[in-house]
C-alpha cells in the first residue's frame, strides 16, 4: 500500500505527462501481482469498491478526535480525506499492507461493516497510505492521470503498442493476471472472449496544401471531417456497445444512438447530435458526455445519431485487411434503408484535382464540419496513426488579435517563467474582457520576450498571477488561433474558445487595434453555436 500511496502522491505533484507515464511504468515494473493489477484498475477507474460516504468517515474520526480540533484542522487543510489521514492517531506501529489485501477486505465487507473495516485499516496504515485508502473508498483519486495514460504506461511496460491493450481491455477484469503474464513474456497473449470487443481505431495525420501537391488525387477518397466524437459502434450477438476512440465504453450516455444498431458487426463513425433540424455544434454534444444517465428532455431536444465512416466487421467477417474501397461498398450496402435519423452514411466528396477539393473545403455544407478527410482507396484499416494512408486536412483555424491581461507562472521547467496567459478583447464600453487562456503556441525565444514584458509591465500581483499593463496605447497584442467558439455562461464574456494558442506576437500593433467582443459574437452566429 505504501508503494501505491507514493505513486498517487507523485502523480499529483508531477506536472509533466511523460514523467507521470514513467512513474506508472516504473510502478508496474517493480510491484508484484496482484497489487499492480488493482492499482492499474484504480487508475483506469475500473476498481469498484463499496463506497463509503463522507458522513461515515466523519463519524469514524469523531470517535477519536475532539470535534473542535477536527473542525479547525479541516478548515485549514480543506480536504476531508487528507485531514483524516493526517489527524488519525493509530493505535500502534503502521504496517505495509499489500494493496490487494486492502481491496479484498473492502470488497468482502458487508454493507454495514464497511465503516468498521475502514477504521481498522486506518489504524494499521501510515498517513500516506491512509490518504490513498480514503481516496479509494470515496471514489475519486484526483491524480490528473487519465485511463488512457494508464494504458499507455502499461503498453510501455510491456513493450507493445497501446492499441493492443485497448483491444483487450474490455474483456479483462482486475487484477489482470493473464495480461501481465503476457506482457512479462511468461504466457501468450490473452484472447478477448468478451462479446462486443473494441477494435483499435485508425487515425489520420495532418496534411497541408503544399504536401498534397505530391500526391495523386485519384488514389484518395475524400469525405467531410465532422466535429463530433469519433466512435465505434459494436453489435455482437446481443451485446451492443458504443466506444470512444480510446476504447472507453460511453454507451450509458447515448442510449438513443445504441438503439440505431440493427446490424451485426462493428462500425467506425462520428457521434453527433441534432438540434432544431440540423446537426448541432460540438458544445451541444459535450452536454451529453460524461453523463451516467440522460433525461427525456435532452433525448428529445438533442437526439444523438451516428454518421458512419467505415465498416470493420460485418457479422462474423473481419474486414480490416480489405482495401477501403471494398469496406466502403460493404458499409453502403449495410446502411441503406436502416433508420436514417439514427445512423446515416458519411457522404463522399467527388473531386478530380486538389484545388477543386480546396474550394469545396472553403465552403462546407455545414458549420459542424472542421475540414476534409482523405483516405487512400487501397488502405487497409490499421491500428494507430500510420503516416500515409489517411490524412486530415483541417479548416484553417480562426484567429483574433487579443490583449495580454494576466500572466501566471508555469510549473516544472517553466516555474521561473510567466507562461500561462489570459487575454481579452474590447467590449462596447471600451473595457477589456477576458476571452481565453493559452499556454503554448510560442517559441522558447518568444516565451523569454513575453516573460520580460510581463516582469517589466506588472501593475498588480495576486499570488503567482500578475496583472500587466493593458491600455489602448500600451500593452502586448497576441494573435490567438483557435478551433471554434462556444457560448459559455461561466465566462463573463459569454464565449469560450476551443483549443486556443498563441500564434504570433504582434509587437507591431497597439492594443487599441485589437479585436472587439462583437467580432467573436458574430462568429458565434456564423458557426451556429
Amino acid at each position: 500500500m505504501k508503494a501505491f500511496a507514493r505513486l498517487l502522491d507523485q502523480l499529483i505533484l508531477t506536472p509533466s505527462r511523460n514523467e507521470k507515464v514513467a512513474l506508472v511504468r516504473r510502478y508496474l515494473g517493480t510491484t508484484p501481482d496482484p497489487d499492480r493489477g488493482y492499482a492499474l484498475a484504480a487508475l483506469t477507474g475500473d476498481l469498484h469498491l463499496p463506497a463509503v460516504k463522507p458522513a461515515v468517515l466523519r463519524a469514524l474520526v469523531a470517535e477519536r478526535v475532539d470535534e473542535v480540533l477536527f473542525r479547525l484542522s479541516y478548515d485549514y487543510v480543506g480536504d476531508l480525506a487528507e485531514t483524516i489521514s493526517l489527524i488519525w492517531e493509530a493505535a500502534g506501529a503502521s504496517e505495509d499492507l499489500p494493496l490487494s489485501v486492502v481491496v479484498e477486505r473492502l470488497t468482502s465487507a458487508s454493507r454495514g461493516a464497511a465503516a468498521a473495516v475502514v477504521g481498522d485499516l486506518l489504524d494499521r496504515l501510515d498517513p500516506s497510505s491512509r490518504y490513498a485508502l480514503l481516496k479509494l473508498v470515496t471514489g475519486n483519486l484526483r491524480t490528473g492521470f487519465s485511463a488512457r495514460l494508464a494504458k499507455v504506461a502499461l503498453a510501455e511496460h510491456g513493450g507493445v503498442p497501446v492499441t493492443e491493450i485497448e483491444e483487450l481491455w474490455h474483456g479483462l477484469v482486475a487484477p489482470y493476471g493473464a495480461l501481465f503474464a503476457w506482457l512479462d513474456g511468461r504466457a501468450s497473449k490473452p484472447v478477448n472472449l468478451a462479446r462486443g470487443p473494441f477494435r483499435p481505431v485508425m487515425l489520420a495525420t495532418p496534411v497541408s496544401e503544399s504536401e498534397l501537391a505530391a500526391l495523386d488525387p485519384a488514389a484518395f477518397a475524400a469525405e467531410w471531417k465532422w466535429d463530433g466524437i469519433r466512435v465505434q459502434v459494436v453489435s455482437d450477438r446481443g451485446v451492443r456497445r458504443l466506444y470512444s476512440r480510446s476504447g472507453d465504453d460511453i454507451s450509458a450516455a447515448f442510449p438513443d444512438a445504441l438503439d440505431a444498431i440493427e446490424f451485426e458487426g462493428s462500425i467506425d463513425g462520428e457521434l453527433l447530435v441534432r438540434h432544431e433540424g440540423g446537426v448541432a455544434p460540438f458544445a451541444a454534444l459535450q452536454q451529453r458526455l460524461n453523463r451516467k444517465t440522460v433525461g427525456k428532455a435532452t433525448l428529445a431536444d438533442y437526439p444523438a445519431f451516428i454518421r458512419a465512416y467505415d465498416l470493420l466487421v460485418d457479422a462474423d467477417d473481419d474486414l480490416r485487411h480489405l482495401p477501403f474501397r471494398d469496406r466502403r461498398a460493404r458499409l453502403e450496402s449495410i446502411i441503406t434503408g436502416k433508420s436514417p435519423d439514427r445512423l446515416d452514411l458519411s457522404p463522399l466528396i467527388p473531386f478530380e484535382a486538389w484545388d477543386e477539393l480546396a474550394t469545396r473545403r472553403e465552403a462546407p455544407p455545414s458549420p459542424v464540419i472542421e475540414g476534409v478527410m482523405l483516405k487512400r482507396w487501397d488502405s487497409a484499416y490499421l491500428a494507430g496513426r500510420p503516416k500515409g494512408p489517411w490524412f486530415k486536412w483541417k479548416r484553417d483555424p480562426f484567429v483574433i488579435d487579443a490583449v495580454l491581461m494576466y500572466a501566471q507562472r508555469g510549473h516544472g521547467r517553466r516555474s521561473s517563467f510567466y507562461s500561462d496567459y489570459t487575454f481579452g478583447v474590447w467590449t462596447g464600453e471600451g473595457a477589456l474582457t477576458p476571452v481565453g487562456k493559452a499556454y503554448f503556441g510560442f517559441t522558447d525565444e518568444e516565451l523569454l520576450q513575453i516573460d520580460r514584458y510581463v516582469r517589466d509591465n506588472t501593475v498588480e500581483r495576486f499570488g503567482p498571477v500578475r496583472a500587466v499593463r493593458a491600455e489602448p496605447g500600451h500593452g502586448l497584442v497576441l494573435e490567438v488561433a483557435f478551433e471554434g467558439l462556444n457560448r459559455s455562461r461561466r465566462h463573463k464574456s459569454g464565449v469560450a474558445m476551443r483549443f486556443p494558442r498563441i500564434s504570433r506576437l504582434r509587437w507591431d500593433k497597439r492594443p487599441a487595434e485589437a479585436d472587439r467582443l462583437e467580432a467573436l459574437e458574430s462568429l458565434l452566429e456564423t458557426t451556429g453555436a
Partner: protein, 333 residues
Amino acid sequence: MTSPPLLPRVEGLYCPAGDFFIDPVRPVERALVTHGHADHARAGHRAVLATAETLDIMAIRYGPDFARETQAADSAWITLGESRVRFVPAGHILGSAQIVVEVGGTRVVAGGDFKRGSDPTCAEFELVPCDVFISEATFGLPVFRHPPARDEIGKLIASLGVNVHRTHLVGAYALGKAQRVIRLLRDAGYDAPIFLHGSLQRLCDYYQSRGVALGRLLPATVDAPRDGFAGRVVIGPPTSFGTPWARRFADPMIAFASGWMGVRPRIRQRGVELPLVISDHSDWPELTQTIEDVGAEQIWVTHGQEEALVRWCELQGIRARPLNLVGYEEEPE
C-alpha cells in the same frame, strides 16, 4: 501573581520589572532577541541582548551597526532592573534561545521558536520547568506530525538516484533550514559538492566557522555549463525559483524543505514536485509534549494556530490563553 512579569504590547512582549522587550517588532530601547530570523531579530534597537551567535547573525544580515549596544548572553543569570534573565537553547536554529525571566518568585519562559527533535546544526532544546510557558504555535494543529528528517532527506537522495538528468533545486530558508538540509545530506553520506544561491553563502560560511561541517559548497554560477547541474543539488531560498536565476538549470526538479510540506494543498500551491517535510519548528506532538513537560500553571500561546493549542490545553485542564502578538510571520524570511 499580582502583576504579570510579561505583557503584550504593540512593540512586542514587554517586561515592566526589567524594562525590556522580547523580540520586539518596532525599534525599542532594550531588546532581548531569541534568534536571528528576520521577524524576531530586527535592526534599529538601542541595546540588544542575545546569544553570541544571534548577535553575529544580526551583524551579517544588518551590518555591524545594527544596534548601538550589544551584549552576549549565555545560560548565566543577568540582572535587568527588578528582574533577572537567562538564555537557554531552544533547538530551533544556530544560536536560538528560550528566554527565562524571573520577577519576584515567578518564572516565565518565553520559548521563542523551538523544536524538540535532533538537529546537528544547533544546540538541543533544554527543558526549564516554569510557572508560565509562552509557546509558539506555528504547527499547532493535530494534522502536523513531522516525520524523521533523515527519512525526508532519504527521499531527496532516492530521487537523485532515479532522476539523474534533473537538477534538484531545493528551496530552503537562508538561515537555519539551508544549513540543516546540507548537514542532513552529509550525514546521509552525500559527499558531492552542493551548489548554493548567492544569498546563502555568508550564512553557510558562518555556520562552518561555528563548527557545523557542511562539506564542499560551490556557488551556482552562470558560468557553469547548463547541464553541469544535472543530477546535482542546488539550494536556494524558495523565492529565487520564480526568478530568472532558476533558468540556468536543466530540467529542474523543484523540492522544498519545510514543515508545510506535510499538507498537499500547500505543496501544490507552491508548484513543488518533491516535498521534504523538514521543519525547524515543533510539530503537534512536540508542542503538546513540551506543554506537559514544563508543568506550567499557565500557557500563553503565540504566533500560529493559537486557537487549537489553547483548546487542547483546556481539554487537559491546563489554563491557557492566546497572546495575539502581531508582526510574526508563519515561517520567517
